[in-house]
Every structure is written in structure tokens, then in C-alpha cells.
């Protein structure tokens, strides 16, 4: 039972990270019908920027800052600069190809992904970059019975989960209630018509990439703090898994991406907890295959009905 609870907490943490990245995939797919394969690498860039943020804070001798404020500062720093990357990628690699054939932006997305990986490898080196733990300690949720162990939730896990819940709530409200969100949904449904009522479609697409990148930066920050190491290639596997999460939940659906991220997190945690760690990726991707076979629209996705 303790073991189960512990894996549940670990899965929740993983799921939070996947969910935040999956939102970026699903939003971009919703608005331009394209899988942004560079999104995983935007997340990797976000992790590097977050790491730089921590190092800058460390060097600039602001030890008097309390840890939560430091994290918030780095968060803002990472979100800001990663957004610039997201915006630039859209502007350079996707916007010029809009209106081109469907495969063109897909190819340029893959190109962008390879470019970002090599760019970071060149600038930062291929070696693993460590970050000493920023937040330590945790809460014991149960008292260990003899021979057993205590279920713990680390403070870092709490921070990750709370941050994710806050961001997802804010983002859901943004989409559902604000004018910007309406504009985004309008572009999703009919770009031509949206332009005809005065919506600047190109700008709305840019904003979508920027918000997606900002959320990926948050996930990147969590990765740096949670795993303590990053390298230029982390974006690939985690990006694909977050993409799996988006498909599992129903690509194009915002709650679907969150649910999918959570499920992938649980699957990985429980698989590595009860079966074998080596095959946790196999488990996650088997789910992708099964979903594509039995429910191509995902758990919360609506099938597109074309009226004739």
C-alpha cells in the first residue's frame, strides 16, 4: 500500500511535467493542425535557460533571497526567454510555409528540432550539466511500520504539483473566459472567418506558440530541479512522451492534454514500480499504439464530422 501511494505521488509529479509540455503540442495542433516537433526541444532550451537563471542568481551573490522567490525569479526568466525562442521558431520555420502543402511545416519542424539540439550542443557542450539540489527535504506521509518504509512527498514535488495546478487553472480560464482565448478558439475553428471579423490570425498563432513555449519552460525548470541534470538531448524522449500524452487525451483538447499527461506519468511510475524500469518507455509508447488503434481521437477528443 505504501509502495502504491509512493508511486502515485511520483507519477503525479511526472504527469505534471508531461501535461505542461503536452499543452503546447495540443494548442499548436488545434490552431494550425500541425505537430510542432520542435516543441520538445523548446522544452530542453527552457531547461537550459532555467539552469542559467539559477547559476546567474548563484553568482550574483544574492544569498539573502529566500528559495521560493529565487525559484519564481528563475521561472519568470525562463518563461520570458523561452517564449522568445518559441516566437522565433514560429516566425522563421512555420509562418513562411503557411499555405504551403501539409508536409512542409512538418519537415521544417523536424529540421528546427535538429537545429535546436545541435545549437545547444555547440553552445553548451555535449556533457551533462548538473544543478545541485535547490529544494531539499520532504514530508513523511506515513510512519514506517517495521520493515516498511515511509511514504514521502518532497517539498520539490509539492512545488511542482502546486505550480502545475495553478498554471493549468490559469490557462484553462484564459482559454475559456478571456477575449484572447475566444480569439484562439475562433482561429481554431475557422481562420478565414476569424480574420473577417477582425482577428489578427497570424498574431494569434504567434501568441499560441509563445504561451506553449512559456509552459514548456516551466516544465524545463521542473526538470532541472527534479532530476538535477540536463543535456542537449532531453527534449527528444520527453517531447515524444508529452506528444503521446496529447494524443492519448485527444489532440486539440486542452483538458485532454492534462489528463493524458497525468496518465502517462502514472503509467511510467507504476510500470517502473511494479515491473521493470527498463521497459517504462515501451509501456508508454505501447499505450500510444493502442490508443491510435482503438480510439484514434483520444480519450477526450471529439471525432471530426465533416458535413457534406
Amino acid at each position: 500500500m505504501e509502495y502504491f501511494l509512493q508511486q502515485l505521488i511520483n507519477g503525479l509529479t511526472l504527469g505534471a511535467i508531461y501535461g505542461l509540455i503536452a499543452i503546447g503540442y495540443t494548442m499548436v495542433y488545434g490552431i494550425i493542425g500541425m505537430i510542432n516537433f520542435a516543441h520538445g526541444d523548446i522544452y530542453m532550451v527552457g531547461a537550459f535557460i532555467a539552469l542559467m537563471g539559477f547559476l546567474l542568481l548563484g553568482f550574483s551573490d544574492v544569498a539573502y533571497l529566500s528559495i521560493p522567490i529565487a525559484i519564481l525569479l528563475v521561472l519568470a526568466f525562463a518563461m520570458l526567454f523561452t517564449s522568445v525562442y518559441g516566437w522565433t521558431v514560429e516566425r522563421l520555420a512555420y509562418r513562411p510555409l503557411r499555405g504551403s502543402f501539409r508536409l512542409a511545416p512538418l519537415i521544417s519542424a523536424i529540421g528546427m528540432s535538429i537545429f535546436l539540439q545541435n545549437y545547444i550542443q555547440l553552445l553548451q557542450g555535449a556533457r551533462v550539466k548538473p544543478l545541485p539540489p535547490v529544494v531539499q527535504g520532504g514530508l513523511n506521509l506515513t510512519t514506517p511500520i517495521d520493515g516498511g518504509f515511509a511514504v514521502t512527498i518532497s517539498y520539490l514535488q509539492i512545488i511542482i504539483i502546486v505550480m502545475t495546478v495553478v498554471l493549468m487553472t490559469a490557462f484553462t480560464l484564459l482559454i475559456a473566459k478571456t477575449s484572447l482565448g475566444r480569439q484562439q478558439r475562433a482561429c481554431e475553428q475557422d481562420k478565414l472567418m476569424a480574420a473577417l471579423v477582425g482577428v489578427d490570425v497570424d498574431r494569434t498563432i504567434s501568441i499560441t506558440f509563445v504561451t506553449g513555449a512559456a509552459l514548456a519552460a516551466v516544465a524545463g525548470l521542473m526538470h532541472v530541479m527534479y532530476y538535477g541534470v540536463i543535456h542537449f538531448y532531453i527534449g527528444f524522449l520527453i517531447g515524444i512522451k508529452a506528444f503521446t500524452a496529447a494524443v492519448l487525451g485527444g489532440i486539440g483538447s486542452l483538458p485532454g492534454a492534462m489528463l493524458g499527461g497525468l496518465l502517462i506519468g502514472f503509467i511510467e511510475a507504476f510500470w517502473s514500480g511494479y515491473f521493470s524500469v527498463e521497459y517504462k518507455d515501451v509501456a508508454a509508447f505501447s499505450i500510444l499504439v493502442l490508443v491510435l488503434i482503438f480510439r484514434p481521437t483520444g480519450l477526450l477528443g471529439k471525432p471530426e464530422i465533416e458535413k457534406v
Binding site: K177, S179, L180, Q183, M193, A194, L196, V197, D200
Partner: protein
């Protein structure tokens, strides 16, 4: 050529000069010039394929005209539409349009469809939605105003009780009226209606006539109307432009156009050419007889 129905000395709201639109070798519009007055209904009629909708597509920035000039006057400023992007035309020049086949945001609520059309004002008030997220007072006020305007137009088109329904679930006639309401919510200077009466029954058509007249009279909007239903065109428009094969063949008040031999020929065909669709011909003949 009679020059439309402009009020005493007012410059026209819209001037189309020597508009030509070619698609490869096909000339869809060939050197068409006309003008539309403010606070008046200008109808564009003509057989199928005459280029009516193409004119709308040029006006709204969907096509870039091959040649010619489209000038719209709004608030003492001239806008050259052929040089503007689609969303700028809607936002700054204030041209709103509806479609032959209704294009609503199907999966948004009826009211939301009207709010999207007002988003430029809302975005300004909400500081790119940041203030909206924390629901600052200035944003709440702007949104309340937007909802008021939406409710006003829903009332005008008789859909107030269905404001929260998904737009795709409305009946066809209701969707058509909602599209007009949405266009009006963007506070346009020129409203372009593409066959608004298509698929409506006679009672609905009568209501539509009233609605369009109300828009012209009370909201001081110029209306550009493409319509096949002559009972709409002849009854409510001040000015009729007739196109045939991309060329303008007549331009004037409904009475003059109806008697114009070129128009009758375009609709009924030359004597040796008797295979024209009888229902179109019927319309014109009915009106000529029953007028």
C-alpha cells in the same frame, strides 16, 4: 450610366474603380466600376458565375485584385482596401460580411460568436487578456458592454433566448440571422451580405427585409447585397448593379434596371439561346409583370 443613389453631395461610402480580377486565363471581373452610398442598400445581381461573390472576396481582402482600386471612406479617412490585410480591413475600414453558406464558429455559443466579433475592443481593454485573467474592473466593464451589444443584436434577430446554445445547433434560418448579428457586432461601416435570403421561406424572407432595412436606417450602415431573390432586391434596395460574365451591364435604381434591355437579355438570353434556367427568368418576368 446613371450614378447610383447618392444623397445630396455626400461622397460615396465605397468606390470601386476599374476592378479586374483574373485567375490565370479566366477573367472573373472585368473592369467593373460602381459606388455604394452610405446608409443605402446597394444590390449586386447577375446570373450565376457573373462574379458577384468575387467582388466581395476582393473587398474583404480574401483576393488581391489584379487591377483597380477599392476605396472606402470611414470617419473622414480613406482606406484603400486592395492594399490592406483581411483583418485590418475588418478592424479599421469596418467591412463585415456574411457567406452564401453560413460560416459561424460552430462549436462556440451563440453569444461567444458575437463576442469574437468585438474582440479588438476587448483586447484593448484587457491589456492582451492579462487584466482579463484577473478580471480587473476595466476589463469587466468592457466585457459587460460587449455582452450588452451582443444581447441587443440577439434581440433584433430574435435569438436572445438561445444565447447560450452552441451555434452549430441552431436551425438554418437562425444561423443565417446570427451571422448578420455577428457582422453587426463588429460595428461595421459597410455590411456585405452574400445571398442572405438563400434557403429562407417567404415569411423569413420578409423578416430579413425588415432587418436589413432597420440596419440601414437605424445603424447608419451601408449595405452591399448579393441576392438572387428578386422580391428582396426590388423591394429594399436603392441602387442595383447588374453583372454578367464579369462585366457591369447596368447600374441604377431598381425600376430602371428592371426595364433595361441589357438586363433582360442577360437573364432571358438572346432569342437564339433558349436554354437558360427557367426559374431565374421566371423571377424577372414575374416582377416585370406583377411589379
Amino acid at each position: 450610366m446613371t450614378d447610383g443613389m447618392q444623397g445630396a453631395g455626400d461622397p460615396p461610402l465605397l468606390e470601386v474603380e476599374h476592378l479586374t480580377m483574373r485567375f490565370g486565363g479566366l477573367v472573373a471581373i472585368d473592369d467593373v466600376s460602381f459606388s455604394a452610398a452610405d446608409r443605402a442598400i446597394t444590390a449586386i445581381i447577375g446570373p450565376n458565375g457573373a462574379g458577384k461573390t468575387t467582388i466581395f472576396n476582393c473587398l474583404t481582402g480574401f483576393y488581391k485584385p489584379t487591377e483597380g482600386m477599392l476605396r472606402l471612406r470611414r470617419g473622414g479617412k480613406d482606406y484603400l482596401l486592395e492594399r490592406m490585410e483581411g483583418h485590418d480591413i475588418a478592424h479599421h475600414a469596418g467591412i463585415a460580411r456574411t457567406f452564401q453558406n453560413v460560416r459561424l464558429f460552430q462549436r462556440m455559443s451563440v453569444l461567444e460568436n458575437l463576442l469574437v466579433a468585438q474582440h479588438n475592443a476587448l483586447m484593448k481593454a484587457s491589456g492582451m487578456s492579462i487584466l482579463g485573467l484577473i478580471s480587473a474592473p476595466s476589463y469587466r466593464k468592457a466585457e459587460a458592454e460587449a455582452i450588452d451589444l451582443g444581447a441587443y443584436w440577439l434581440d433584433q434577430v430574435g435569438l436572445l433566448s438561445r444565447a447560450d446554445l452552441e451555434a452549430g445547433h441552431l436551425a438554418y434560418g437562425d444561423q443565417r440571422r446570427l451571422e448578420i448579428a455577428r457582422a453587426m457586432c463588429s460595428r461595421p461601416s459597410l455590411l456585405c451580405l452574400d445571398e442572405p435570403a438563400a434557403g429562407l421561406n417567404p415569411r423569413e424572407t420578409g423578416e430579413l427585409n425588415g432587418l436589413i432595412q432597420m440596419i440601414r436606417d437605424e445603424h447608419r450602415v451601408g449595405v452591399l447585397l448579393i441576392e438572387h431573390d428578386m422580391s428582396v432586391v426590388m423591394r429594399i434596395s436603392e441602387h442595383v448593379v447588374v453583372l454578367d460574365y464579369g462585366r457591369k451591364i447596368a447600374d441604377g435604381d431598381p425600376e430602371a434596371v428592371r426595364r433595361d434591355p441589357a438586363v433582360i437579355r442577360a437573364y432571358l438570353g438572346e432569342e437564339e439561346d433558349e436554354e437558360l434556367p427557367s426559374e431565374v427568368a421566371g423571377d424577372i418576368v414575374d416582377h416585370a409583370a406583377g411589379g
